[in-house]
C-alpha cells in the first residue's frame, strides 16, 4: 500500500521525480523497519514521510486543488491501520471465528469514512472564504489540540 502511494505520487508529479522517489524510499524503509522491529515510531516516521512526499508534490506542483486527495487520504489511513495492526503483540491465542473479520470490516469502514471526511475538507477548501488571522488562529488551535491529546489520555487511569 505504501509502495503504491509512493509510486502514485511520483507518477502524478510534474517533475522532481528523484526528490519524491528519495522521500518515498525513505518512507518505505521506515515502515519496513517498523514492521520488522515491531517499532511504532518507525511506522509513524514512515507514514509522516509518505505525507511529506505528498506535501512536497503539492508544494512543487501547480496551485490548483488536487481532487484526488480524498483517495490518497483513505489509502494513507489504510496503510497506517494495517501497519499498526501488524505490529500488535502476537500471542498464540485461539480466536473466535469472526473476530478477524470484524476487525477487517472496521478498518475498511473507517477508511471509507476517512475518504468521505477528506472529500468534505477538500470541497470546503475549494469554497471561497476569506482568510484572515482568526481563521489562521483557529487552524493553529486545532492542530495543537491534536498534539495535546497525547498528554491528556496517555496517562494510565486506575
Amino acid at each position: 500500500m505504501a509502495g503504491a502511494l509512493v509510486a502514485a505520487a511520483v507518477v502524478r508529479a510534474g517533475g522532481h521525480d528523484v526528490l519524491l522517489l528519495v522521500i518515498g524510499a525513505a518512507a518505505i524503509a521506515a515502515i519496513a523497519a517498523g514492521l520488522v522491529l515491531r517499532w511504532s515510531g518507525g511506522l509513524a516516521v514512515g507514514i509522516a514521510l509518505l505525507g511529506a512526499q505528498q506535501a512536497m508534490r503539492l508544494a512543487l506542483g501547480p496551485d490548483a486543488l488536487d481532487e484526488a486527495t480524498p483517495l490518497v487520504a483513505g489509502a494513507l489511513l489504510l496503510a497506517a491501520e494495517l501497519a499498526w495492526w501488524s505490529i500488535e503483540p502476537r500471542i498464540p491465542a485461539w480466536a473466535q471465528p469472526g473476530v478477524a473479520v470484524r476487525r477487517v470490516l472496521t478498518v475498511f469502514c473507517t477508511c471509507v469514512a476517512a475518504t468521505v471526511v477528506s472529500a468534505v475538507v477538500v470541497v470546503a477548501a475549494g469554497a471561497r472564504v476569506g482568510g484572515g488571522t482568526l481563521l489562521l488562529l483557529t487552524g493553529v488551535v486545532a492542530a495543537t489540540a491534536a498534539l495535546g491529546v497525547i498528554a491528556s489520555v496517555a496517562r494510565r487511569s486506575p
Binding site: 511504532s40 509513524a44 505525507g51 486527495t69 480466536a95 476517512a114 475538507v121 497525547i150 494510565r156
Partner: protein, 423 residues
C-alpha cells in the same frame, strides 16, 4: 480496569497535528485533508472508547485431583458492553499445565453470557490456587488498551500419584482390632495355624475329622485371627537432593501417598510424622477421613532449612504407638534423621527404611578431584546403609524409575532372613 494509551494513539495525534500545521505553513488545504482522517479517528476513538464492563465467575469441576489427571475450569462471562476483541487468559500456577485454548480472543456483544471451559492437567502434587483471570481489550480503533485482573481463585489439591502395590510390608506385631493381617497369635479366624487335642469347650465345627480319624481321638484346628496393624510413615523433610524440576522429596511424597492409601485400604491404622525443620505429625487412625488427612498433610510437606538439633523426644508419645511399624522414607542426607532412626531402633521400634537415593540427583564434577569426592560420598552412603543393617534395620536404596514394590520386596526379604538368623 486500568487504561493505557497504545503507541498508535500518540502516532496518530502526531501525524494529525503535523499534517495540519504543515497545511497552514505551506498554505495547501490538501494536507489538511490528508491529516483529517487521523484526527477524525482520534476524535471518534477517544469519544467512543469506554472501558469494557465484563463480569466473570469461575468454578472448578473438582477440588481434589490426582497427579496426571485433568481438571476443567468453567468460566462464565457477562458482558455489559460491547467488547470487540477481548483477550482472556487463565493464569495458571506452576504445577498445572493448560490443555486446549489458553489464552483466547473473543468478541462479546452487550448482554452476552458465554460459558468457556478451560481444561488443564495437574502435573505436580501440591495445593494450588487456580482462578487468576486476566482480561485485556482495546477500543474499536486500537487507541486505548484496557486491562483487568480478576481474582477468582479457588483451592485445588493435587495428590501425589504413587505406585500400585501388590504386597505391603507387614509389621512384626499386630494390634487388637479386626483387620486383614495374620498375627502369630491364635484365635478365631480363617487362616489355619495348628492342630491340637480337643478340650471341653471347643466347638464341634473346629474338629479336624481327618486328624481325629487317624489318631482315634478328637483333634481341632487352631487358626490365626485377623488383626490390623499400626503403621507410621516417617517422612524426612530436613533436606533433599534436587535436579531440575524433580527431587527426592517428590519421590518420598509419592511413595508415602501410595503406602498410606494401600495400608488404609487394608484397614490398618496409619499415622504420619514429617520430621524436619517444621515438625508435623498425625496420630494413627483409619478410614477415608484419615486417608485425606494424611494426604493433605503430605501436600504441606516442604523442606524448611533449620539448624536446630531435633531428636524423636520432641514427638508426642501417641505419635509412635507401641508395636507400630515405622516406615521411614528418607534420603539420609541429614545427620539428625540418621541419628533419629538409629534411636528409634534402639528403643525397640519395628523400623524399616526406604532410602530415596540422592545419587541420581547429584552429578559428579568434571575434574579428577570432583570425581574422587563423588566416589567417596557414594562409599560413605554404602557404609551408612551397612551400619543400619548391622543394627537390624532393613534399609533399601530406592531410585527414581525403580518400582516401589521392588524396594518393599527387598525389605521383606531382609526381615525374613533376619528372623531366621535370630531363631
Amino acid at each position: 480496569m486500568t487504561r493505557a494509551a497504545t503507541p498508535k494513539l500518540g502516532a496518530y495525534a502526531a501525524l494529525a497535528g503535523t499534517g495540519l500545521l504543515t497545511a497552514l505553513v505551506l498554505g495547501r488545504p490538501e494536507l489538511a485533508a490528508l491529516a483529517a482522517p487521523f484526527a477524525i479517528v482520534l476524535a471518534a476513538g477517544l469519544s467512543l472508547a469506554e472501558p469494557p464492563r465484563v463480569r466473570a465467575w469461575l468454578e472448578l469441576d473438582r477440588e481434589r485431583q490426582i497427579e496426571g489427571e485433568e481438571v476443567t475450569a468453567h468460566l462464565e462471562l457477562a458482558a455489559e458492553s460491547v467488547v470487540p476483541g477481548l483477550e482472556l487468559l487463565l493464569d495458571l500456577p506452576g504445577g498445572v499445565e493448560p490443555l486446549g485454548e489458553n489464552p483466547q480472543r473473543r468478541h462479546l456483544d452487550r448482554d452476552d453470557r458465554p460459558e468457556i471451559e478451560l481444561a488443564f492437567r495437574c502435573s505436580h502434587w501440591g495445593v494450588y490456587m487456580v482462578g487468576d483471570v486476566l482480561l485485556r481489550a482495546q477500543d474499536r480503533f486500537g487507541l486505548l488498551a484496557f486491562e483487568q485482573r480478576l481474582d477468582l481463585r479457588q483451592p485445588l489439591k493435587i495428590y501425589p500419584r504413587g505406585d500400585e502395590l501388590e504386597k505391603l510390608l507387614r509389621p512384626l506385631e499386630t494390634q487388637t482390632f479386626a483387620g486383614t493381617q495374620t498375627p502369630r497369635s491364635r484365635g478365631e479366624g480363617i487362616e489355619f495355624a495348628d492342630l491340637r487335642p480337643f478340650v471341653p469347650g471347643d466347638r464341634v465345627r473346629r474338629v479336624n475329622w481327618r486328624a481325629t480319624a487317624r489318631r482315634g481321638e478328637p483333634w481341632v484346628n487352631e487358626t490365626h485371627p485377623e488383626r490390623n496393624a499400626d503403621v507410621v510413615i516417617f517422612l524426612d523433610t530436613f533436606a533433599e537432593a534436587r535436579l531440575g524440576a524433580s527431587g527426592t522429596l517428590d519421590l518420598a511424597v509419592q511413595a508415602a501417598g501410595s503406602l498410606v492409601a494401600h495400608y488404609i485400604r487394608e484397614k490398618d491404622r496409619v499415622g504420619l510424622v514429617a520430621f524436619g525443620g517444621i515438625l508435623n505429625w498425625l496420630t494413627v487412625s483409619s478410614g477415608v477421613v484419615q486417608l485425606y488427612r494424611v494426604l493433605d498433610s503430605l501436600l504441606d510437606a516442604e523442606i524448611f532449612l533449620s539448624y536446630a538439633w531435633k531428636n524423636i523426644d520432641i514427638l508426642p508419645p501417641r505419635t509412635l504407638p507401641p508395636h507400630a511399624l515405622v516406615l521411614a522414607i528418607s534420603p539420609l542426607l541429614d545427620e539428625r534423621t540418621v541419628r533419629a532412626l538409629a534411636d528409634l531402633r534402639a528403643r525397640g521400634f519395628d523400623l524399616a527404611v526406604v532410602e530415596v537415593s540422592p545419587v541420581p540427583f547429584a552429578e559428579p564434577g568434571t575434574g579428577a578431584l570432583d570425581d574422587l569426592a563423588y566416589r567417596l560420598w557414594v562409599l560413605r552412603r554404602d557404609a551408612l546403609r551397612a551400619s543400619y543393617l548391622r543394627l537390624g534395620v532393613p534399609v533399601v536404596e530406592w531410585r527414581k524409575g525403580m518400582p516401589l514394590q521392588a524396594a518393599l520386596e527387598e525389605v521383606r526379604t531382609f526381615r525374613r532372613h533376619a528372623r531366621v538368623v535370630r531363631a
